[in-house]
């Protein structure tokens, strides 16, 4: 049982990181129906900037928490700038173009950002200085660290703040109006361009925070780290219902838990030696504690894609979303 609980803790931490990144995808998609492929790279830039700052300040007089905060404080504006530039230069001119155009542009932007980061931060794996002392707490047999707790708290806080922004502020109202019908929103006096730009910038800020979290939690950053994370977060957004903010949170957490439980249990579930009837068929493979595992943890990365494909094929609207699969 404590193992199961531990897997849940693992999944929740991973999932809340996915959720914060997924928010960026879902906000942009909700407002202009664009999959911003380059969103994962913004996360990467956030982690890289934070790395530079933390590395420079580590060992100084500042307390560790202040150093991490300083890193975040630098990463957020840089990422916001990247997000704004991306929207302004690459996506805005294409808003009326066929659907494939911005998608291909997004792939291009993603490649550019990755390799610019490579030029700035080299292609090596960068090790974050271990300034925060890890403390481990045991809850019912499951280990949880102070960093994990901070990540969980931060994610809940960010989601709350975003919900407040979207549902309680003028900008949020304008965003929702633009998402429903950009043209009408424009007629009602909303500056659609500004609202879209604001969406990108907010998404990028979230990505920056996610980047710092990933960097400090795992202790490493590399210029390629954005793509896999981005894909998984995108899957999470689709799972929850793309364009739907609570959906992105739910999807992120669910995907994280699915991955953790999947990697933790699929090997045993598909070990044919555990099934009494099949074991004799496999001959001596099962003798003496042998294994015949069909799918092990090596398929961990498949789960996200399988979830993605299943959801898109069976219920394109996701768990909480409206029907959007037929939009073209």
């Amino acid at each position: 049982m404590d193992i199961f609980l531990q897997q849940l803790v693992n999944g929740l931490t991973l999932g809340s990181v996915y959720a914060v990144v997924a928010l960026g995808y879902t906000m942009v998609y909700g407002i202009i129906q664009l999959i911003n492929f380059a969103h994962g790279e913004v996360v990467m830039i956030g982690a890289m900037v934070a790395f530079s700052v933390i590395n420079a300040l580590a060992g100084g007089a500042l307390p560790p928490l202040a150093v991490v905060l300083a890193g975040t404080a630098c990463a957020v504006p840089v990422c916001m700038g990247v997000g704004y530039a991306m929207e302004r230069l690459a996506y805005r001119p294409l808003r009326r173009a066929p659907r494939l155009a911005p998608l291909i542009t997004a792939i291009g932007v993603s490649i550019i950002l990755q390799h610019l980061a490579l030029l700035v931060w080299s292609r090596n794996v960068l090790a974050f200085p271990q300034i925060i002392e890890t403390r481990i707490y045991y809850v019912a047999g499951a280990a949880i660290t102070n960093v994990q707790l901070a990540i969980l708290a931060l994610c809940v806080g960010l989601m709350g703040a975003l919900a407040w922004l979207v549902y309680r502020t003028r900008l949020g109202t304008a965003m929702r109006a633009t998402a429903q019908n950009a043209q009408v929103a424009g007629l009602m006096g909303i500056d659609v361009d500004r609202v879209v730009a604001a969406t990108f910038v907010i998404g990028a800020a979230l990505a920056a925070v996610a980047g710092v979290m990933v960097g400090t939690y795992y202790g490493i950053a590399q210029y390629t780290m954005g793509s896999v994370l981005g894909l998984k977060a995108f899957s999470a957004a689709v799972l929850g219902g793309i364009g739907n903010i609570p959906g992105a949170m739910l999807g992120g957490v669910l995907l994280g838990v699915v991955e953790a439980l999947g990697a933790g249990y699929i090997g045993d579930l598909t070990d044919l030696c555990h099934y009494g009837l099949l074991a004799p068929l496999l001959g001596d493979r099962c003798v003496g504690g042998g294994h015949f595992v069909l799918f092990g943890s090596n398929y961990q990365d498949v789960f996200a894609f399988v979830v993605l494909i299943l959801v898109l094929v069976a219920r394109p609207s996701g768990l909480l979303g409206e029907r959007v699969g037929d939009r073209a």
Binding site: A97, I107, I111, R285, N298
Partner: protein, 357 residues
């Protein structure tokens, strides 16, 4: 004797094609003077042309963005490798395996196409991307519990093509002229490429081609016009995939070794870039795109490092990085300023003109 104008034009066209044909056939001799490695580079360029033309059917003709296309290439490559290597002790001849590989790839194409028929645009792009990754992950992991693909270690000692006494991996002599292995593959690839070009060109203006075009422009309207959109879309997936499978088989034989790392997402994106850059839907544009993107990296390899060495005394920026940056910028700039590609297809050009007018 006076010829009618269209007859004369046809004569000129014929002569032009013959000249290009001779030039293409003689190319390896010229390249071999510089170095056989350039013949190999030409071979990879032609392989990319095959891939790009296959993808062009899916993306260019039918308008279905496929970001997992390299999976079909992998299917073809592994089919060949498994049936003609010591892995299972099978050594079937290449002319028997290549069609099997192409068919199997087509089957995978249908497998991918069937559940995704309802999806369009960016959703389809993501699903195909996931599909491509899943195929690669499976190839990487199917060494356990039963060893099929040898996993990440890959399959080595794959048979080269053999046709009677001709062994494509060895240098042979014809009339006292040394014909190296890569040259033989080049001619084979050339034949394959011409066949694929012919199929593409014929398809473009066929009933099927028109149907694809109709789906690309407006699926609902196409269905209303009585087009069986399901079958037509599946056909696009299957045909595109089969070309990928064919190219994969040849790749496997040329390399005599394959491993999953040759079938990563970047390769898919590379092929998509070729199609997009050259001009979606236009066969000649796609060929141009493929040749450009296959040869440019080589040119960069020979030029970037030495130039930097001369200027700064060391290599500051890898040619690889410059290549990828060029890719990225090319994709963005082409979409912004020349959305139909370098050589737009006639239909796209017409559409753009209409939109402008």
């Amino acid at each position: 004797m006076r010829l009618a104008p269209d007859k004369r034009r046809r004569l000129f066209a014929g002569a032009g094609i013959a000249l290009v044909g001779i030039a293409l056939a003689a190319l390896p001799f010229a390249l071999a003077l510089v170095g056989t490695s350039w013949v190999r580079i030409a071979n990879f360029a032609v392989l990319y042309v095959l891939l790009a033309l296959g993808l062009n059917i899916v993306v260019g003709f039918a308008g279905l963005l496929d970001l997992g296309y390299i999976a079909f290439y992998a299917v073809g490559a592994y089919t060949y490798a498994l049936l003609a290597s010591p892995q299972f002790g099978l050594h079937l001849p290449f002319w028997a395996i290549l069609p099997v590989g192409a068919l199997l790839a087509a089957l995978f194409g249908v497998l991918l196409g069937a559940p995704t028929l309802k999806l369009r645009g960016d959703y389809l792009a993501i699903v195909t991307l996931g599909f491509g990754e899943i195929v690669r992950i499976f190839l990487n992991n199917l060494s356990r519990p039963v060893n099929i693909t040898n996993g990440p270690i890959g399959i080595d000692r794959i048979d080269p093509f053999r046709l009677g006494p001709i062994d494509f991996s060895k240098t042979g002599h014809l009339l006292g002229i040394a014909i190296s292995g890569p040259m033989k593959y080049y001619w084979l690839l050339l034949v394959a490429m011409l066949a694929v070009i012919a199929v593409n060109v014929r398809l473009q203006d066929s009933r099927i081609g028109r149907a694809w075009e109709a789906i690309r422009e407006d699926e609902v309207a196409a269905r209303a016009m009585g087009i069986n959109t399901r079958n037509i879309k599946l056909l696009a997936f299957a045909m595109g995939a089969s070309f990928g499978g064919l190219a994969g088989g040849i790749f496997s034989a040329i390399q005599m070794f394959i491993s999953p790392e040759s079938f990563v997402l970047t390769e898919s994106i590379m092929v998509v870039s070729m199609v997009v850059l050259g001009g979606m839907g236009n066969v000649w544009g796609v060929i141009l795109g493929a040749v450009l993107l296959a040869v440019v990296p080589e040119v960069l390899r020979w030029s970037v490092a030495p130039v930097q060495q001369a200027l700064f005394g060391r290599t500051l920026v890898d040619p690889e990085v410059i290549r990828m940056l060029l890719f990225g910028f090319a994709l963005v700039l082409v979409m912004l300023f020349r959305p139909a590609g370098l050589l737009p297809s006639a239909v796209r050009r017409r559409e753009l003109a209409e939109r402008a007018g």
